[in-house]
């Protein structure tokens, strides 16, 4: 037999004005299992709480119902009071007779009747409440950052500066990402390399950062505070410890005609190479697919010329396991390719723009390399086809973006600004040239952004044409642009020397497979999903994993850096405590009854359900059951409602508790 105490609060007059609190207390006292019932002016006041504590001791109460305001208001207060009275706090419940009763009903009789019935339901519920203890999870205070672009670099530096170890994993031979490819950055036109390279060097020299370049994530196991990450270090064919970065190997390599993807294939590089002069680390890598030695077994020049003997043709991929407590995902973006797409692709290329076969139709990033002082042309703007300086350049915005026909309906956010920047860079370099921009809308929210755009029109004399382009075709050495000006209402035709397409920012190819390894969710465009669009913009739904930069959606550099620092702050917050403590409202599996249909796993929004093998003493597999990781479970209870045999149960909201309430109707 339970010994429940019921405390009915007057809340000054807020409740007692319409609810006959004494009558409620008297009715409660008559309920079976209620050992004590009383009413009091202000239950939440110190004397009120004192009354509760005293009653627990005097009446040996094993459950409490406080009939007062909303639990959203004072549940914590009364549970703490119960705790200090020596009762498990989860044996204390609140009956909401203020917001749900006295404040919304005027008839005293009705309100009193309803209050009694609310109290009854909660009394029945409390009878079924179990003692729960908060869950604690130990934390490994090291963090993994995936991606070495500006987002990853910023996050890694912030976390490392806070005194925590960081493992930074980059797929390419060098960190730097897209920002290292840019010429100058809006809206200040400062040189990207100048602001980027110091940060790259900081990463390389930071005692708390362990840098893995030319490496990828192989596997991720574990959960918040306790991840085990396997990193695949791809064979560089150069021993990083021995290499001094002298550059003799790259200079002597006889194979020099490989398009350099860092330069958007505009320039050439050897088979053993560093992608760009400021690369970090400055250790070359052998591109085995194009290396003569690897293709034919002959050559070996780089090995012969290497003084320290760092070139190692036998090097193999290496797997390292890193234990970390938090992960920041900063894998960035790639640009929409206008070429034809394979069958089944959600995207469709631009046949009307020649599917990328017209040589003088390039994308924005290629233009960045042309304009970059350290680029393949030394910053001289020339046409890819014949190396001539273009006098009429047409920029087209929203290529791929805002085009659901082509597979993407979102705005890529950065193109308006960088196209404005391109017109300026062009005008600075080719004084007698004319830039035209076809645009649909100019979107320039941001500090000094609109001013920047206006400057490109007013001072740099770019001609902005409000309208889109239907078709591009080659005519002699010109590219004919068939567009329209919807403001005038006429068709516009321009014979351009060069056409620059502001192609859409899209998620990286393979973003989905990384997400699956990490157990995080992504949207239909493969951008990673944040836990809440407004209030949890850097957290993933999967606890312990955070997002930074364009992998979550198109973003410019300032936004990316802000988000990266925010993600770093989240990691630091997590690491600030010795252990992770959380409310014990989590699901638990009754392993005896579980038949392993894994419907729970299928519906769990947190990926908290795992398959657990039950083995006998000899290690033979008996059966597999579901296991809910309490560190990951969010406590929604969808698993329980879905489980056919109800072998998984959400603490705090068990079937017993719910049905007790229903039966008390």
């Amino acid at each position: 037999m339970s010994r429940i105490g019921v405390f009915v609060c007057h809340c000054g007059e807020n409740i007692s004005r319409t609810v006959d609190v004494e009558k409620v207390a008297a009715a409660a006292a008559r309920l079976s299992g209620v050992a004590y019932a009383t009413d009091y002016k202000y239950m939440c006041s110190d004397p009120g709480q004192g009354l509760l504590k005293k009653a627990v001791a005097e009446h040996r109460l094993d459950g409490i119902v406080v009939a007062a305001c909303s639990p959203r208001m004072h549940e914590k207060t009364f549970r703490n009071a119960a705790k200090s009275a020596g009762l498990n706090p989860f044996l204390c419940e609140m009956a909401n007779i203020r917001e749900h009763c006295s404040w919304v009903h005027e008839d005293r009789e009705e309100a009193t009747e309803k209050a009694i019935s609310i109290v009854t339901m909660l009394v029945e519920r409390v009878k079924k409440n179990r003692k729960l203890v908060p869950i604690t999870v130990p934390i490994t205070k090291r963090s993994l950052v995936i991606g070495g672009g500006i987002a990853g670099i910023q996050a890694a530096l912030d976390i490392a500066d806070a005194g925590h170890e960081v493992v930074l994993v980059e797929r390419e031979p060098s960190i730097g990402g897209h920002m290292a490819q840019l010429s100058e950055t809006f809206p200040t036109l400062d040189c990207s390399q100048c602001i980027m390279t110091p940060k790259m060097v900081d990463v390389a020299n930071h005692p708390n950062i362990r840098l893995y370049t030319y490496s990828e994530i192989e596997n991720v196991e574990g959960y918040i505070g306790n991840f085990q990450v396997t990193v695949r270090k791809k064979a560089r064919s150069v021993d990083m410890d021995k290499c001094t970065g002298c550059g003799v190997c790259t200079a002597k390599c006889p194979q020099k005609k490989i398009p350099n993807s860092f330069d958007r294939d505009l320039g050439m590089r050897p088979a053993i190479y560093v992608p760009f002069p400021q690369a970090v680390p400055n250790t070359p890598v052998i591109d085995r697919a194009n290396c003569t030695y690897f293709k034919t077994g002959k050559c070996g020049v780089c090995q012969k010329v290497c003084g320290p003997g760092a070139v190692d043709y036998e090097q193999q991929d290496e797997l390292v396991v890193e234990p970390v407590g938090a992960i920041v995902v900063a894998t960035g973006f790639e640009l929409y390719d206008i070429g034809p797409k394979p069958a089944g692709s959600p995207y469709e290329g631009y046949g009307e723009f020649g599917y990328g076969t017209i040589p003088d139709v390039i994308d924005g990033l290629t233009f960045e390399r042309l304009a970059s002082a350290s680029g393949p042309t030394g910053g001289k703007i020339v046409r890819p086809s014949d190396g001539k300086e273009p006098k009429q350049v047409v920029f087209i915005q929203c290529v791929g973006s805002r085009a659901r026909e082509k597979g993407i309906s979102y705005c890529s956010k950065i193109c308006c600004m960088y196209t404005a920047k391109h017109t300026m860079l062009y005008h600075h370099k080719v004084h007698d040239g004319q830039a035209y921009v076809f645009f649909m809308d100019a979107r320039t929210p941001g500090k000094n952004y609109d001013e920047f755009w206006r400057r490109s029109i007013e001072e740099e004399e770019a001609v902005y044409i409000r309208g889109m382009v239907s078709r591009l075709y080659q005519k002699g050495d010109k590219v004919v642009v068939m567009g329209s000006d919807v403001l005038v209402g006429v068709q516009v035709e321009i014979e351009a020397d060069l056409v620059v397409l502001a192609t859409a920012v899209q998620a990286r190819t393979g973003a989905d497979s990384l997400a699956q390894k990490l157990g995080i969710s992504y949207d239909k465009y493969n951008f990673y999903s944040e836990a809440h669009a407004k209030l949890k913009p850097v957290e993933c739904a999967t606890a312990g994993i955070y997002l930074a930069g364009a992998c979550q959606g198109p973003k410019d550099i300032p936004d990316t850096v802000s988000q990266a620092s925010a993600a770093a702050a989240k990691v630091m917050t997590l690491f600030a405590k010795a252990e992770l403590e959380r409310e014990p409202i989590v699901a638990k599996v009754n392993e005896r009854n579980c038949v392993a249909c894994f419907y729970c796993k299928k519906v769990c929004p947190y990926g908290a359900v795992e398959e657990k093998e039950i083995r006998d003493r000899n290690g033979n597999l008996i059966r597999v059951v579901a296991y809910v990781n309490p560190g990951v479970c969010g406590g929604c209870g969808t698993c329980q409602a879905t489980c056919p045999s109800k072998s998984v149960e959400l603490d705090g909201y068990t079937d017993e508790q719910v049905i007790a309430m229903i039966d008390a109707l």
């Binding site: 009307e352 929203c398 805002r402 085009a403 659901r404 026909e405 082509k406 649909m440 809308d441 409000r466 309208g467 889109m468 382009v469 239907s470 078709r471 068939m482 567009g483 329209s484 000006d485 919807v486 209402g489 006429v490 068709q491 516009v492």
Partner: protein, 194 residues
């Protein structure tokens, strides 16, 4: 009218008309964000007073009189370039079809709708012969449109080349074709079809 101020209110924006066009064409009008790509590629743009994107804009504003008044809809060649390239999958070619039907149903032929006259004759021909009979089509069109002597030079040449037949071959399904016409008319009367 063309340059008159547009008074916008729920009364002056004819949503019913737009819905009808959307139903007939199976294409949304509101999706268009006026990028103008349709107009950029339209081969007939120079013959129209409203470029195609403006037709959609006027529809978005429910301005059906302005849409139907001009010659634009009659000069659409149904080449589908606009529909093919529209970033929003607005099927402008189908919308044009719908507008022509609405116009013809509401106002009958106009001087701009010579195409539709040709179309009507073409269809009458089908109704009568089951197939197209080009000689008669050309002759009747010229009479009805008042262009008696147009293409006078082409005719005899085509006849000698065997391209215009003076007689038509009899088709067994003529009766069935007539019945299709009748059934459709019947369905429209009963409100079973648009």
């Amino acid at each position: 009218m063309k340059h008159a101020k547009m008074q916008l209110s729920t009364e002056t924006m004819n949503v019913g008309f737009v819905r009808k066009v959307e139903a007939l064409s199976g294409s949304s009008v509101r999706r268009c964000f006026q990028c103008g790509k349709c107009s950029a590629g339209c081969p007939m743009r120079s013959f129209m007073e409203h470029p195609p994107n403006r037709i959609v804009r006027l529809l978005q504003l429910g301005q059906y009189e302005r849409v139907l008044a001009g010659r634009s809809i009659w000069y659409c060649a149904s080449c589908e370039t606009c529909s093919t390239r529209c970033p929003n999958k607005v099927d402008l070619a189908a919308i044009m079809d719908a507008l022509r039907k609405c116009s013809w149903d509401a106002q009958g032929p106009s001087k701009e709708s010579l195409v539709q006259l040709a179309n009507r004759l073409f269809i009458d021909n089908i109704k009568t012969y089951g197939r197209q009979y080009e000689m008669r089509l050309a002759a009747v069109f010229n009479v009805k449109s008042g262009q008696f002597l147009k293409d006078l030079m082409l005719g005899p040449k085509l006849i000698t080349k065997g391209k215009l037949k003076m007689f038509h071959s009899k088709n067994k399904n003529v009766g069935e074709v007539e019945r299709i016409f009748a059934r459709i008319e019947e369905m429209r009367k009963k409100g079973e079809a648009e």
